[in-house]
């Protein structure tokens, strides 16, 4: 089903015209309300009114995640705080985190985008949605929640964790839809098996998955284990959250990007040059309708390919393939985005530690596991030489990782020689 027939099936020419009109409006707005954009457009010697077509977009400067961090917390907001009704944020310590604001209308826009996404998965008010995306500062849980309410479905706001309780509710409440990260779905299946629950016997019909890369093989495994259709949902918290793009039930090939709200470009991550639609590159998003936190040419770091072929579902919006690669060093661990620089910031903040470390990521069963090896610094060891002191440091590292990044690694102190053997700070043993 198509939630917003008028906009989702707009002929491409009309869609382009709408995009240009909205782009000009948003450019005028940010130029006059956000210091960053005035500065960056002035530096590029371009005025908002000079952008007359999508082809002109290449003249506009990019905005990067670093810019977002530099303007932490509210420096890029385009409206006064009195108009902001919601704040979300990424993980990370001060200066390495990013904060996203929403006006009342932004929340309505986001809800509609999620409603469109759920409708594209064939859902309606008769569905019961088990929402196991995390609620809180992370956009996943609340994004799906508002969309689910908008289509009138019944939402179970599960959030993540407490797997046994999740299994109980899956059995007792009989949800028809599950939303979570794909690896968490497989983890639930493992837990269910251990409890003697046949996941196929549940009433689940559809699964909507996102927030981490997943392979075709993984979708097939989820579909077989649960006896459901597994669909792909895309969103970036910086841009708005889940619901930027959704795989449709009819097409089963890529996710429609809701182009009346976003302009998507693919660029060569090294040169910044815009690539022809269909070539693999880094995705760059521009928000057309967001009020509180508009982004002009935001470099997402996600590498994918756009699909221009018309879709049998009737939507005219362009599609993107699944994101399996990054153009930067961001890691996605259990659906949480982590940058090595954030880990480094945590380590240097602990007295006596040096940022000599290695992150080792692997899979244990369906879930990602993270080991953090930290070199015992000369300072720490010569000051104490004791077991208790070292264990205290291990606990402190674990706690700070949990508090700031929302992830609990297995922390291990190592000899300097262990890290010297390999230069790699990141060892990712997962195969996607």
């Amino acid at each position: 089903m198509i939630y917003n027939e008028e906009f989702e099936t707009l002929p491409r020419e009309a869609l382009r015209a709408l995009q240009v009109k909205r782009l000009q409006q948003v450019l005028e707005r940010v130029y006059h309300s956000v210091g960053f954009y005035k500065k960056s457009l002035d530096a590029a010697k371009i005025k908002p009114h000079e952008i007359k077509s999508i082809a002109d977009m290449g003249k506009l400067p990019f905005i990067t995640r670093q810019d977002l961090r530099d303007n932490y917390p509210f420096g890029l907001f385009a409206v006064p705080m009195s108009n902001i009704v919601r704040l979300h944020a990424s993980s990370g310590t001060s200066g390495r985190s990013t904060v996203f604001g929403y006006t009342k209308r932004d929340i309505e826009t986001w809800s509609e985008l999620m409603a469109r996404s759920l409708a594209a998965a064939g859902l309606n008010k008769n569905d019961i949605i088990h929402n196991a995306f995390g609620y809180g500062l992370f956009t996943g849980g609340l994004g799906v929640h508002y969309g689910a309410e908008k289509i009138g479905a019944s939402v179970i706001p599960m959030s993540g964790g407490n797997s046994k309780r999740q299994i109980m509710i899956l059995q007792d409440f009989g949800p028809t839809v599950i939303c979570c990260t794909p690896s968490y779905a497989l983890h639930l299946a493992e837990e269910g098996n251990a409890l003697g629950v046949d996941m196929k016997s549940l009433k689940l019909r559809v699964g909507i998955f996102g927030a981490e890369p997943w392979s075709k093989a993984m979708s097939a495994e989820i579909e077989n284990t649960f006896g459901i259709t597994a669909l792909d949902l895309f969103g970036l918290s910086e841009v708005i959250g889940p619901g930027m793009a959704m795989e449709c039930l009819e097409g089963r090939n890529g996710m429609h990007i809701f182009e009346d709200h976003f302009i998507v470009e693919t660029i060569n991550p090294k040169t910044g040059e815009v690539l022809p639609e269909g070539e693999e590159g880094e995705l760059v998003f521009t928000t057309l309708t967001k009020e509180a936190f508009p982004l002009i040419r935001y470099r997402s770091g996600d590498v994918s390919r756009l699909i221009t072929e018309p879709c049998r579902c009737g939507r005219t919006h362009i599609k993107m393939e699944r994101v399996l690669k990054r153009s930067d060093d961001m890691l996605i661990i259990r659906g949480i985005n982590i940058f090595p620089s954030q880990v480094e910031a945590i380590l240097v903040a602990i007295e006596g530690l040096e940022p000599q470390y290695q992150l080792i990521i692997d899979k244990v069963g369906a879930l990602d596991s993270l080991e953090l090896h930290v070199e015992v610094s000369d300072k720490i060891f010569s000051d104490s030489g004791g077991v208790k002191e070292l264990q205290k440091i291990e606990k402190r590292i674990l706690k700070d990782m949990k508090d700031y990044l929302g992830i609990a690694p297995n922390v291990k102190l190592v000899e300097p020689s262990t890290l010297k053997k390999t230069d790699a700070r990141i060892i990712d043993k997962r195969h996607i």
């Binding site: 015992v376 010569s382 030489g385 004791g386 070292l390 000899e415 020689s417």
Partner: protein, 143 residues
């Protein structure tokens, strides 16, 4: 009256203790006694050696994390109740022991207990007051 102990940080993995003992052998360091404290992922090798400075230097050069800790060595007769006689005194005086390990002298008459105390000065004072023999570092290194 204090003795210097060398502590070496070791990962729990095959070969890491062997590496440390190899460095000591190559430097002709004699180990008087030792103990190994372990947790699930690392260990600390505690050594009393005949040449503290040299051992410290060679291990550091080999890339180990090394620290020097002050411990107290006490001589007791090597017979039933020997250790207990010390513990009784420490208990009465409220002195906390962090860890201890022991070895028997070559003569076979006495045992030497190596103590790590929170407050070594106070412990030495109490032990001497109670007529225990607190062994000098220099004597211990060259036994």
């Amino acid at each position: 009256m204090k003795v210097e102990q060398i502590s070496v940080f070791l990962e729990n993995k095959p070969g890491s203790l062997e590496h440390a003992t190899r460095v000591l052998r190559d430097a002709s360091i004699n180990i008087r006694t030792l103990s190994l404290a372990e947790t699930s992922d690392f260990g600390i090798l505690r050594l009393i050696v005949n040449d503290v400075e040299k051992a410290n230097k060679m291990l550091k050069e080999a890339g180990f994390r090394v620290s020097k800790t002050v411990v107290v060595a006490v001589e007791v007769p090597d017979k039933p109740g020997g250790l207990h006689s010390i513990m009784e005194v420490l208990s009465v005086e409220g002195i906390n022991v962090e860890y201890l390990y022991a070895f028997v002298e070559k003569s076979g008459q006495n045992a030497v207990i190596i103590f790590r105390f929170d407050a070594p000065e106070k412990a030495i004072e109490v032990l001497m007051k109670n007529s225990f023999t607190v062994v000098e570092g220099s004597k211990l290194y060259e036994f």
